[in-house]
Symmetry: C2
Subunit: 111 residues, 2 copies
DNA sequence: TTGACAGGTAGGTTTTTTCCTACCTAAAGT
DNA sequence: ACTTTAGGTAGGAAAAAACCTACCTGTCAA
């Protein structure tokens, strides 16, 4: 897998979250760290495919891997999601002021 | 034909945000509605490609289109981002409790 | 030390994305 | 009516994503 090195950390986070399987993995890990096997059981997909999804999440630093014997526990590291939240902040202002369409915008700027 | 109909609204939002150009379009529209031309000027890309990005944002209901004569103003509609925010909420608890790794998890669950 | 098990990597196929140029339609101006 | 302008649509190329099976390595247990 080529895996563009030119991607910024934020790009990697957004791209990682674009896939529903990967979001489901994160949701699953909210209940605590899990080895790959146990994660894979929840999906109708071959294990190596789950491994690939985990790699994407790892590259986005949304999860960490901790080796314990022959198991690897994956755990959520939600720090990158804070960036996502701060990216979201300017839009929050928008929906609080109910400023959602051209009409409202024009009303605000051409009184 | 184009655009899987099987995609949920949330899927469409996450997928729309996966592309940096589309996020830049949204950021641009934070300053107010813009016609396509003016949006396209900000990007090093042919206008029809920008149109395609706008279509993706429109399908995700992240923007609205308002026709004024031969212009079409695109405006942010941040409502879908609220869903994103509520998807984010469970992770917020995580980083507030500094519960970010296997070690911390084990400390919490095997005292 | 040998076998079984956990899980990553290689390589390949199919589908999706992202871009392009060429073209088409609708509204405006002359 | 004719031309220009705004902007969408068609079709296609190139790249990336998402799967798969086969294979390899490292750890544990007999």
């Amino acid at each position: 897998m080529p895996h563009r090195v030119k991607m910024s950390p934020a790009d990697r986070v957004f791209a990682a979250l674009a896939n529903p399987t990967r979001r489901d993995v994160l949701d699953l890990l909210l209940d605590g760290p899990r080895p790959v096997q146990e994660i894979a059981e929840h999906f109708d997909m071959a294990r190596p495919s789950v491994s690939e999804h985990l790699k994407v999440l790892l590259d986005a630093e949304l999860v960490t891997e901790t080796r314990q014997g022959r198991h690897r526990y994956y755990a959520v590291t939600p720090d990158p999601l804070r960036e996502l939240q701060s990216w979201l902040a300017p839009y929050e202002r928008f929906w609080r002021s109910k400023l959602t369409g051209l009409r409202t915008y024009l009303e605000e700027h051409n009184p």
